[in-house]
């Protein structure tokens, strides 16, 4: 087993891509994704991995190039953030139904305006419905492991779908953490070579991306959705085998001190570690608080979440995204829908926090729990509340 080293999370993630023996990387630089693609350019330039690094002219070009590369049968990776993800948006919807298993690291960052390079989840939540498998990493080890897992799952012939790993910009991407990198032999043991079912090959010509006339369009969309839902089985299997080989077990949702909890915080991404500290603090004060963290966002793990929520009476759901004019944040809406008219379901309160790099502190988590507890007794006027905003 490889030893633990101190390494910047972006570099660890890029090392995972290298160890995956990637064939083609097409990427365009954007803060805070840059360290990932810089490191990949370096390892390609140094011959540490035999791959083509295509320095494309835009993120739209990056995703277009990835579609071509994947369709030609190459293991394909890209990474982006924020405005770059939005520039890709048109093309992001295409590899899903076309079953092209591209892997992408999204380094989550706020959206303009005002322009901000700092972290929240507004970029990825705006692209929620692109039809990719989506996971969220909490720490550096997870960023590394989930990237390898992504190649394994995406390229599995039963799945054959694009997959993204989300890491929080700066607060995760740029921190140095202790990460246990796997060796090449270990990765090779876990990740088989990419053998696409279909690829562009003159010996067996196929037409990819034909016109979906009304007689077939609905069927094509439903087929994609079914494939995405069915991918959960392979996602779980991929995590189980990872655990069998390397001892680290991942689940679609994780819990922390939730067994007897009356109120649960619900988080995604790197703020979860702060949330755990907040849970400890509240437990010390005698509050029965716990945490549920969503790792797998798409396909949404409904049964796993319900089980994780257990018998809690209240959920304080944290969103890192403010959808203007909506009834609540995207995670809040997802969970309200999940529990709608389910007997004995918890009361759900939605908090929006940490926009554009604002720290989400232990105190704020305590405030959310306090407010959610009060709301459970007296219904609030609004369906969500934004936490930590100066009024003057």
């Amino acid at each position: 087993m490889a030893k633990r080293i101190g390494i910047e999370v972006s570099i660890a993630l890029a090392e995972a891509v290298k160890l995956a023996n990637v064939d083609v990387i097409a990427a365009y630089p954007i803060t805070p994704q840059t360290h990932i693609v810089e490191h990949l350019s370096e390892v390609v330039a140094n011959g540490e991995v035999d791959a083509e690094f295509v320095p494309v002219e835009s993120e739209h070009g990056a995703m277009s190039c990835c579609c071509g590369s994947s369709a030609a049968g190459a293991r394909t990776f890209t990474s982006t953030s924020s405005q770059g993800l939005l520039l890709m948006s048109e093309i992001l919807f295409i590899p899903g139904p076309m079953r092209l298993p591209i892997v992408m690291a999204v380094v989550d960052r706020a959206l303009s305006a005002p322009i901000s390079i700092w972290n929240d989840h507004q970029d990825i939540m705006s692209q929620r419905d692109v039809g990719w498998i989506q996971t969220f990493a909490e720490n550096g080890q997870e960023a590394f492991d989930l990237t390898l897992h992504a190649f394994r799952v995406a390229e599995d012939r039963r799945v054959s779908l694009p997959m993204m790993v989300n890491i929080d910009g700066f607060t995760l991407s740029h921190v140095v953490e202790a990460v246990e990198l796997l060796s090449q032999e270990e990765v090779d043991q876990y990740l088989p070579p990419f053998k696409p079912r279909y690829r562009l090959d003159p010996r067996k010509p196929i037409t990819m991306g034909p016109v979906g006339i009304p007689e077939v369009y609905s069927e094509a969309k439903v087929a994609h959705n079914e494939a995405l839902k069915a991918s959960k089985k392979v996602i779980l299997q991929g995590w189980k085998e990872f655990a069998d080989l390397f001892g680290r077990q991942y689940n679609p949702v994780e819990t922390y001190r939730s067994e007897d909890a009356e109120i649960l915080l619900v988080t995604m991404g790197s703020i979860s570690e702060t949330a755990m500290t907040a849970v400890d603090t509240m437990r010390e004060k005698g509050q029965k608080a716990g945490l549920v963290r969503i790792r797998l966002w798409r396909p949404f793990p409904g049964p796993e979440f319900r089980k994780a929520a257990g018998k809690a009476k209240v959920l304080a759901v944290v969103d890192r995204c403010l959808p203007p004019g909506a009834t609540c944040g995207p995670v809040g809406a997802e969970l309200r829908s999940l529990f709608y008219k389910v007997p004995g379901s918890p009361k759900i309160f939605n908090f929006i926090a940490g926009l554009g790099g604002r720290d989400v502190t232990v105190e704020w988590f305590e405030e959310m729990v306090e407010k959610a507890t009060a709301f459970a007794k007296k219904r609030p006027k609004e369906l969500y509340e934004v936490i930590g905003v100066r009024e003057k």
């Binding site: 064939d23 083609v24 097409a26 035999d50 791959a51 083509e52 295509v54 320095p55 494309v56 002219e57 835009s58 739209h60 070009g61 277009s64 190039c65 990835c66 579609c67 071509g68 590369s69 994947s70 369709a71 030609a72 049968g73 190459a74 394909t76 048109e90 093309i91 295409i94 070579p193 562009l200 090959d201 003159p202 067996k204 010509p205 196929i206 037409t207 990819m208 991306g209 034909p210 016109v211 979906g212 006339i213 077939v216």
Partner: protein, 312 residues
């Protein structure tokens, strides 16, 4: 001179390939000059090619699922990006060949876009792919407007032409801008091969497409493509217009090989532009003043081209 050209025996009427890579039965309009040009281009390339196509007439008429006209591997991703998709395919083939995962045999990579895709929405993507030097061919099938969406103007629409977004009226005479010089933009990228072609000169067209594929690095072929539906011209006159456009010097045929301009066909006794303009509804509203202006500009542009061919 490019060494790959030496071995290439040019297409002649006697040695035309019999194999069709684009099957009949597609849904093109009667008299479509674009699908004819496409068929010739594919005939020239044969079966060892991967095609990336932009959204547009040729894409929709050839692939209404579950039918396809394509006998070669073909992919459509979106409107503006066939050059990027081709970049990805070319890069993939390169590395997979190196790693022994695909056969060592060379496969041509072809990107195809219409004039809207090429001159407007996709020009940045093409520029990127040319600059990076991918070994691929880009063909622009230029029917001089957004025909697939119902004849809207593009930056390749000729001066004075009526389209649904450049309508002549009290205060307008139609398209107010001159056709964008896309082959010139391709040349500015210092790519090894650029050419213009017209389906009326089909051997010339096929030879140019084949040369574009043979050359190492990016190549660009700009093909004039008559569109009876969009131009308001008689379907049976498409080839005639494809010939007239050259004979009037409006669309000169030339190659630019490693920066050297070579006229494919010098037009010593040009026909007046009016002969080309009449018979197309899109130019019907033009008065003498505008026609004279077009004539002058055509003369000037042709002279410029001749000077370039003499200089280089």
């Amino acid at each position: 001179m490019i060494s790959e050209f030496e071995k290439f025996k040019r297409f002649k009427a006697k040695n035309l390939p019999r194999k069709e890579m684009l099957a009949p039965g597609h849904r093109a309009c009667q008299g479509c000059g674009e699908v004819l040009a496409l068929r010739m281009a594919m005939k020239a390339l044969g079966e060892n090619v991967i095609v990336c196509m932009a959204t547009g007439c040729m894409e929709i008429i050839t692939t209404p699922y579950p039918q396809t006209s394509w006998k070669v591997p073909w992919i459509h991703i979106a409107f503006e990006n066939p050059a990027s998709v081709a970049s990805g395919i070319e890069s993939a083939l390169k590395v997979l060949r190196r790693k022994g995962k695909v056969s060592k045999k060379h496969i041509d990579v072809l990107a195809i876009g219409g004039d809207g895709s090429t001159s407007d929405i996709g020009i940045g993507w093409i520029s990127g792919a040319f600059e990076r030097g991918h070994d691929f061919t880009y063909i622009c099938l230029d029917n001089e407007a957004y025909m697939n969406t119902g004849v809207q103007r593009s930056s390749c629409t000729p001066y004075g032409a009526m389209t649904t977004t450049s309508p002549p009226g009290e205060k307008s005479f139609g398209q107010v801008t001159w056709k964008k010089n896309v082959p010139g933009i391709a040349v500015a990228h210092n790519i090894p091969y650029v050419a213009t072609a017209s389906p009326a000169y089909f051997l010339d067209l096929m030879n140019k497409v084949k040369k574009a594929a043979l050359v190492k690095g990016p190549a660009y072929v700009h093909i004039y493509s008559p569109c009876p539906t969009g131009w308001g011209s008689a379907p049976e006159r498409s080839i005639e217009f494809a010939k007239l456009v050259v004979e009037t010097r409006i669309f000169p045929l030339y190659e630019v090989i490693e920066g050297r301009y070579i006229m494919s066909r010098k037009i010593t006794k040009p026909k007046p532009v009016e002969e080309y303009l009449k018979g197309q509804r899109r130019f019907r509203h033009l008065d003498k003043e505008h026609i004279d202006h077009i004539q002058q500009r055509v003369n000037a542009d042709y002279e410029k081209l001749i000077r370039l061919s003499e200089m280089t």
